[in-house]
């Protein structure tokens, strides 16, 4: 038996599957695909899996991970195909690979890349992109950050590794690298900042898409 990792995307309808529900979805999909996986012992055996860095409900993402234990000598060559044939809409597996020597540890994840879409139903207002660029270029962007230990005032810039904006017809997309894991910063704070600092440009809606995760040296994590 060895540890294996599945990299998958969670988009469209599946963006609304909560973390706990996602575990069930994956377990059932694995059962449908008859993959050789390890079940927990005991009275209520179930497929053992663990989901790294769960996405907030409503976010989509394309660099997500589930770890499990494979009981065969190697991962079946058609495992990805078999799984994708039985997935709910919006969940799709990209690769499954063994974690030699335990693989990269989930706790090594330090950054996430997000695509934030700010929607403007009447078209992107003139001046917004410049104003936003100016805003995010400031050295100090204080916000009240909520965590399990309560609220704390922090400087967003300490959590950000760059941001670029791209304007479309009725939306602006921001690509940004933000702290993840222990140093997590929700991309929603960027939207909040716009609402606070640039209320004249308040977008009609915002969506969040998780693109990539990195370690502390900004190497892609997989």
């Amino acid at each position: 038996m060895f540890k294996a990792r599945m990299r998958f995307s969670k988009t469209d309808e599946a963006a609304y599957i909560s973390h706990l529900d996602l575990m069930h979805c994956m377990q059932r999909a694995i059962a449908r695909a008859h993959l050789p996986v390890w079940y927990t012992e005991g009275f209520n055996p179930h497929i053992y899996i663990s989901v790294a860095l769960p996405l907030s409900t409503g976010y989509s993402g394309e660099w997500e991970f589930v770890d499990f234990n494979c009981t065969a000598d190697e991962i079946p060559a058609d495992a990805v195909q078999r799984l994708n044939a039985v997935m709910p809409s919006g969940l799709s597996v990209q690769e499954i690979y063994p974690l030699d020597d335990g693989g990269r540890k989930v706790r090594d994840i330090a950054y996430s890349k997000f695509e934030i879409t700010w929607e403007f139903d009447g078209g992107v207002p003139e001046g917004f992109v410049d104003a936003a660029n100016e805003l995010f270029a400031r050295d100090e962007l204080k916000i009240l950050k909520r965590s399990k230990r309560g609220e704390k005032e922090v400087n967003i810039r300490d959590y950000m590794r760059g941001i670029t904006l791209e304007a479309d017809r009725d939306c602006v997309r921001a690509y940004t690298i933000l702290g993840a894991g222990n140093n997590n910063l929700s991309p929603e704070y960027l939207t909040k900042l716009i609402l606070r600092e640039l209320p004249q440009y308040a977008p009609d809606g915002a969506t969040y898409h998780h693109l990539m995760v990195y370690d502390a040296q900004l190497n892609e994590f997989r």
Binding site: Y16, I17, H24, A29, A31, G58, G90, E119
Partner: protein, 613 residues
Amino acid sequence: MKLSRKLKRILPRVQKPARYVGGEWGSVVKDRNEVDLRFGMCFPDTYEVGMSHLGSRILYGLLNAQDGVWCERVFAPWIDMEDEMRAANIPLYGLESGDSISELDILGFTLQYELSFTNILNMLDLGGIPVYASERKGLKNLVVCGGPCAYNPEPLAPFVDAFQIGDGEEVMIEFIDLYRQAKQEGWSKDQFLRRVCHIDGVYVPSLYDVSYNDDGTVKAVTPKDGAPEFVQKRIVQDLDNMYYPEYFVVPSTDIVFDRAMVELFRGCPRGCRFCQAGHTYRPLRKKSVETLLRQAEAVLEHSGYEEISLSSLSTSDYSQLPELADKLLDFCESRRVSLSLPSLRADSFSLELMERVQKVRKSGLTFAAEAGSQRLRDVINKNLTAEDLLNACTYAFKGGWNNVKLYFMMGLPTETNEDFDEMAQLCRDIAYCWKCNTPNKARGVRITASASCFVPKPQTPFQWDAQVTKEELDEKTAYLRTVMKTKNVTFRWHDSDTSYLEAVFARGDRRTADALYTAWKSGCKMDGWDQCFDYNKWLDAFHMCGLDPAFYANRQRPLDEVFPWDHIGCGTSKEHLKREWERSRRAEPTPSCLETCAGCGAVSLMKGCACHV
């Protein structure tokens, strides 16, 4: 379904958004341009409740198995979602296409309980569809209802175009075939209704006039335009060859019963006199062990579910249960699937089986005793003695179980305080039985006695009986609380307001539809949910419509009264129900169908075949 920007914007703000987006494994998506009939399988309650309903799953599979037919699921959004949808101008939509339900040809509602009736109106309204049948002029958006409450369809009569009475599998296909013909040939809605009422088991309420006596009771129900005088329910005679879905929609979010299910048999041999299902699912028909194993395997294989349950009204009465259980358990163990067996009786075989099946959950053992004394159990024909119960408890306690739940009803016909004294005694006896038999006194025992209010249901032997008034019920509860004072016994009782409303609509006539409409207009919905139920709004609604709810709920009806549902057949004859009522007043039990046929009449619906489980 494709999620619109508008919808995506509100989803993050509502509780459990996964229930509003579809896309689950097993959901069926077809090309809307390649079907000629679009059907909405509507369940007038939340996703979690509706997705747990086996009947809807069967019909969903059946309809989608037809070429050219696309069946979608529609549920009532929870109030937070409804508010957001109304504010954003998003109509109620089918979970497969995301299209407004107003684009669907037929909307089929499942009627599981009376307290979901307002949700039907609310769902239609959310879809931008007029709630009154008379205001829906075209063939499109035809509203059809089926399910247990269709055995008294009258409170919904003005809202519904047609009811399907009884087993849906066959009548549904005949119904949609005629609809497709109507659509193709451009019939008017009237033309269609006048034709469809001749399909056996279809009731078109607009083709019947109801007249009333001075005292408010029904005088006569008169068919017009050639509609049949009596609509007998439909049954599927051969369950082995009946359609059964080989796949289930597997929800991506938690629901009430999240597991695979197979149905053992239809009908119940017991004939408890308060039980509507027991009298309306007859005659008795079963599936063979081979069929069940094949269907269980198919459903598990396709769904990936980790649990399967056997569904029936009385699982212990399935004659080949030992054989089935053995084979199923072998199969389940090899797949690491757990088996759950609801509706078992208090006999030793069932307990042994339960022990084999639920190795882990030694906590919960439930018995539906229904009444506290033998006399009252004879009145209601609940074939269970104190001795049976104590034997079962002895066995269970010896085996280490330490949690027993007992279900009782309050307000049963002929009930007195003496019956409650005996109920308390029974609980004491069970507590004592635990003391004598448990291997581990230190762990303690939990005995819970829950009492709910009896609701007289149409098409049962107790359809003539009055529900006790709120005042009487309060007295009964107060008395029970004084006698149910045994250590280790917790007594719980249900609030009576919802039972009162249930009683009104269970045996209501067409006039109660006004109150339903008025209550809904004043904001009543999700009445089955405590946090939404507003009793006073309902009382106001009855008052505004000049209706006395007590007339429907609390009146002892004479044996010769014409009932609003007398023209709807449930298989069991009214003569049999009357006989059963008379026996009940003599506290005379009627043997189970497994011993002898009581002549309920339902077997006449089967051609050349007898009742069997």
